[in-house]
Symmetry: D2
Subunit: 474 residues, 4 copies
């Protein structure tokens, strides 16, 4: 939803429902509210009296299901769904989830949000043992592990498999007689349980998906938990005891919708606190505070409130950008063609502006926005970032896997300020971020993953260890 | 851009450029920033050394020109373009503009924003004289009048025709050797002239289109003016002396982009002033001010600033709505499926909320939003509207042609308050609106059209007189 | 149907029905059997209790109506339809018929097969009088003439208009209360009347369309006739007395489906006779007779029968060619990639082959086929053409408007034989053709138009006179 | 190509090339000529210097590759391709071939024509051992067997796998350094090797694909052979000694293109012989012989030739049928709407007709055609079938897997004659068929599979044994 002018990408959203006569439609609307988590593709698998059916394709959810009849064919009272994020070039429908497996003795649907850190080595050893993969995604691995498990009971096979995969993951499985959700031992990705008026259980990546379908929030899935929902009700078990909460702090800063709550904290409120705290940590005299739409508006209003400087609409985002295929020529670009963001000349002309943004990745977007504002007549542009500098890659589900693209990995704050042509620049401190979010865990960083800021990864990196070390040496 | 949760529709946007080697592409980007003025269809006609070519189709601009090659075929250094608003059911490509006419002696492209009040009678008398129309739109009429004029010089024919059409109109014509723009004698619809770095002239419905292509604002086209742009430069004439400025006040309230200026007034600033004034006219004690995204955010922040009550993000708009074809069933609707707007429970729960909206048309949207907020736990919801009650239809280009759909035409403020289930309701006064916009014309209502509020139409209604009288009697 | 390996194009097919509850569907199936007459676009206009509705688009009929719902929306018990032939580059939906005109006092649908010889001058004088055209097609002209007529009765206006247009035409009009068919004074294009079991009347370009919907053949529309079908029944009038039958002989030779009858003569039978006659006029010793699929198979079997030489399948046509967008590279072309026709090596290898084709236009296709056969091992290839040499352009509805593309306009039979690399070449004589078809009219050439063979045009050429003279001088 | 009015479906076509710079394009054209073997989907996998890439989708070849750029991305000098036949309802892209597998140590493309008789049991035992399948097709099985083989050398693994699969198969594999073709021990499906001018080797399901790209025929792949083509040249090995030629006789009768040769016999010639022989076995007095287009035209001309009765075009096939989605209503159907075949009234009216068809499956098509002819006025219709009665299912690649649908399994010739409303009916004898084809093998039925005629299956039926026995008892 909020990620279009930035190069940060989330790794998908999942949604499932058990016990609703119109399960596919409920899933459709749940996924619709999670569309900001992935725009490359979407799919739904339903369970109709033990028979599983699915549909998936490339494109936005509304494109994949543009034909009402497709949804109508997905009968059944249980369903899981998935939205997948956009990567360049790798757009094959083979990678779109949920996957649907039909065995001689069993049918299983599988959806996954996250990134495994031992995927490569697991895949290699599985292939050496004769396994055949049909996609590039990590997701298939869990299914191979389950099917090859020596355990007798299906849930024991699942638990054994969950203990073999490492990294960040939120899984949803649909079998002939149950829906199963599982979260990694650190709880990197959010996953919540809700209940509909008719008694149906839902599981979703964000609570905004519960709100949209009128489901009551029950509780979050916690690190290391596996949830089994079937006609007998809901059962929650711990598949491992070795847990350590480390919720992705970027969910609060940037990814999640402001109306979602994660671990009991409202995302808008967290962002507003980041802005308030930032106003205290990095005050500056100015005529107005403006935010980069849409993800930074909460932080900007917090900054304005705490500083007493008026909050203004200095940047306008064109909402019709997602599907603009025509690009300006180089000449037109120089003449100023800008399609996504416009500065509001009538507001910023002749003014000293505090520009609040949630984060800086490569710095190119920031520089463009500062230029926009200056060209529209802003006298000064003071950039305030609602999070600490991004310095390290993420291996748990955010699409930053090298330091090369991170401006703060290579340059000091002063150098960045110069590069983005701002009049001043300040980042929120790590402590400031932790306090602004205000989680209540007894764990390092209050239960947040802060690794992109400080390199302190809460788990071994397995197959990525080498990448990471190479990355440090760059 | 801002019209998706409301039932008010604008009647199109126009853009033209003369003197740029990549005229079609410039027009594409200009239209892109005007997409909020019409989403039903789009088109571009170019002039390549006197030969006119065009492409138009149903859909968003980016869909109509999804194939780069289509744009590449539209060679030439002059172009006009059009985006058309969505009406139900009448979706034929025949109505998509610009129209392109190829006569044995002349080629003309024609685009139009507005609504003629004497279209029906003109069309009837033209058909009685043998004319054949190929669309339902009013736009063709001007071409018939021009072609049937007895004048010798083309510009005299155009001026004669302009004096025959009545109502609200902003025309763009492209001929083999000139681009012509014309505005009705009241200037209902905005139309501005700009100049690009390379000397090319542009004409656009809103100044945001000038900004997006880096053009400098020259001046607005004024009521009763016709502008001729050709290789010799720009020439502005008055085709009639009987002018009386009456700019559509709904452009300031709702339609135009906040970064546009109309008659020198920034739209965001005008809206913020409406909010500020509203805070004075209708104060109330509360915990927070929230706006309906996106069109009311400016007014809401103005209200917050003037009242000292904190501005919060209490409603979130899902940006992926335009293309959602799947509808919730009645049962799901009752269970709470909401696709466009979500209330932020974490923000509004237990709070007294001032909800600022720009206008109320039928009241159904307002009621739904109040319900949303209450379901999310808001203790009180006080609705404040940034404009006076809409009581009369518009015949100059907004899609409200009957009083039946206007809740304020039938009910008192108190009754409306009850119907929308708000704890209190107040509208901005007419004087408040006029002062908030603050135009500087020596004309009734300071040069604004206020007819939907007070029935004081600045022109005779011609073919609509009967409708209007019937409407009053309803 | 049979025109894919040749560069001859027909100018459309029309179909109409009055009095069937499922008129659109009947029209769909009627047009389906006329698809060989035009593949560029298709459309249907229906009359539902006086209200006309239509749908038209570029593409094959099955593509234009690929969505069942489109057809379902075209309710009504009368309909007219049209298939349009493919021309290069001019593919705008504006030219796809039937046209649907909605006047304040009347609604009219209009479809047209043919070519007017005075279109250009009519259009110019209409435009000088203020008329506006919206397509490149000749078809609109009739509507302007009708609407501008000073006559009081609609049918008088239609007849007046029919007397003003010249050339080849078969018109179908649908009004609120009648379906009207009209044929030019020479009857260049075929047009037949049928009756369905339920009493509905149908009019179609070819009788194969009557067969396909189970309609009984009533009679052909004759030169200079106008047919009015309404709820009172059918009425046939002569709008002009100056008639002279001159049925397009190419309909028999190439265009029409072999199962159609024209003027009482079965097309397959006519072609078989051409082959028989050819065998007598131009015998040769050989091992087998083969035809170019599909249009020449009848003539080939006639030749075989008359000569006693076995008829063989020596050429196979790939039926999946219409929609092949990928083209071989030059290199592949030289290596022999052929997508449309294959020679059957197992049949022709080492044999003396008589190749029967219906006509030669530019000679390039003939040369390619001879080469194909030789590469497949044919020892000798003797080309026999079932019609006389094409030497003059057609202005009545076939897409040959210049002599430049006609190999027989420039070269002798011997020269053509050499150019197409055949071992011998012979054409059917003009008398042979006339006798093979065997019409029974008291008119020059027994009522056939033979102009492309001998330049003897049955009408003045009007606007084409100049073209024609220039063409002769080339 | 010829299968549209009948319910017999072929199981795909394969094509591969090694050593051509434009391998994907060569494969495209090769597949184009094999399109009659499968219309559900198509795909191509190329090898560019050891890196494999592919594209596959539902639809005709020309639709799957409608965008030239898709083909251009498939770079490389080796390629394999596949066209898949149309089945109802099961249209998932997951089943479209070639499959492309990317292992950590190897990349393999795989295409398959045929049907395995032990697929179900192989799949079950593989799944029990942890294998995961991603499609419904048999094809994946070979890959699992190869990957799970304990052999060291890749070709040994392939051969081991080939010895495990039973039934009818023609495989094409593409690896990083070779193209591999393999045929089952009975050679049910045709597979031929050719060589292009530049030295590239090609392998194709039919020789018509060699002709179309100008390749010289080298030799057929023989039962039990595996062919390895790499940069070192071509190598042919026998992977099993237990071979017994049993070429599918339906390839000669119906499936293959008439310009193809199978085992040295031209298909058109074989069909013509069937007609000739039929004329001797089942003569009848009549006025004309007509064939059902297109597959029976060869046999019909053979019958005509041998009997001395004239061959006529009594049935016309509409070539625009493949993509007609609109269906006639029941009422229209009764009124005679026929979209595929028309009888030529002008030919058959009042005549005694001998109708030659290649085979009878359910009898419904035959009855419809007889009716068509009678309605068009045929006095007598004598049906002559160019093959023996189809009485048993096929398990080797033709889509008849139950006897229920076979009219000849339940009724005598006399009963069938009555059911199809013919005046007389005769089938070709088994000996007649064998002699007409005239293969030169020292094997039962001269090397033909005649099982559908006599139940004499050349192999055990494995997983189908039960089906078959049940089928007999029906």
């Amino acid at each position: 939803m909020f990620n279009e002018v930035k190069s940060l990408n989330e790794e998908c959203g999942v949604f499932g429902v058990w016990g609703h006569p119109d399960a596919a439609r409920v899933t459709y609307f749940g996924l619709h509210s999670l569309q900001h988590r992935g725009q490359e593709g979407a799919g739904i698998v339903t369970n109709d009296a033990g028979k599983l059916n699915g549909h998936r394709d490339l494109g936005l959810l509304a494109e994949v299901f543009s034909d009402e009849r497709v949804l109508q064919r997905l009968t059944g009272d249980a369903a899981i769904g998935h939205v997948r994020y956009a990567t360049a070039g790798n757009g094959s429908v083979d990678n779109i989830q949920p996957f649907l497996f039909k065995f001689f003795d069993q049918q299983i649907g599988l959806a996954h949000n996250g990134n495994l850190t031992n995927a490569k080595s697991l895949r290699k050893s599985l292939e050496e043992a004769g396994a055949i993969f049909h996609s590039n995604s990590d997701t298939e691995i869990l299914m191979h592990l389950i099917r090859r498990s020596e355990e007798t009971l299906f849930m024991d096979r699942v638990k054994e498999a969950l203990n073999q995969v490492k990294g960040g993951f939120a899984y949803l499985l649909l079998t002939e007689n149950a829906m199963i959700a599982a979260l990694d031992p650190n709880g990197f990705r959010p996953l919540s349980i809700g209940k509909m008026v008719n008694g149906a259980y839902v599981v979703a990546s964000e609570t905004c998906a519960l709100e949209v379908i009128g489901a009551e929030f029950i509780r979050d899935v916690r690190p290391g938990e596996v949830v089994i929902i079937d006609d007998a009700g809901i059962q929650i078990e711990q598949y491992t005891q070795e847990v350590q909460p480390a919720i992705c702090s970027m969910e609060f800063i940037y990814f999640a919708r402001p109306d979602s709550n994660i671990a009991g904290v409202n995302v808008h409120r967290a962002r507003k606190n980041m802005g308030r705290r930032l106003a205290k940590e990095a005050p500056i005299e100015a005529d107005m505070v403006i935010g980069v739409p849409n993800s930074s508006l909460s932080a900007a209003s917090g900054y304005a409130e705490a500083s007493g400087i008026p909050y203004e609409l200095g940047l306008v985002k064109n909402q019709y950008i997602a599907r603009t295929f025509i690009q300006p020529t180089q000449e037109l670009r120089e003449q100023g063609v800008r399609m996504k963001l416009s500065a509001v000349r009538g507001v910023v002309e002749g003014k000293r502006v505090i520009l609040v943004d949630d984060s800086i990745v490569r710095g190119t977007t920031s520089r463009r926005i500062v230029q926009l504002l200056k060209e529209a007549g802003a006298k000064e542009v003071h950039v305030r970032i609602g999070s600490p500098p991004l310095r390290y890659p993420c291996f748990y589900g955010i699409d930053i896997q090298t330091r090369k693209e991170l401006i703060a990995a290579k340059y000091t704050e002063a150098e960045i300020c110069e590069k983005i042509e701002a009049d001043s620049l300040a980042f929120l401190s790590e402590d400031g971020l932790i306090e602004a979010i205000g989680l209540d865990f007894d764990a390092p960083y209050s239960g947040l993953c802060m690794a992109y800021f400080n390199g302190d990864y809460p788990t071994p990196l397995y197959d990525y260890e080498e990448n990471y070390l190479a990355s440090l040496a760059e």
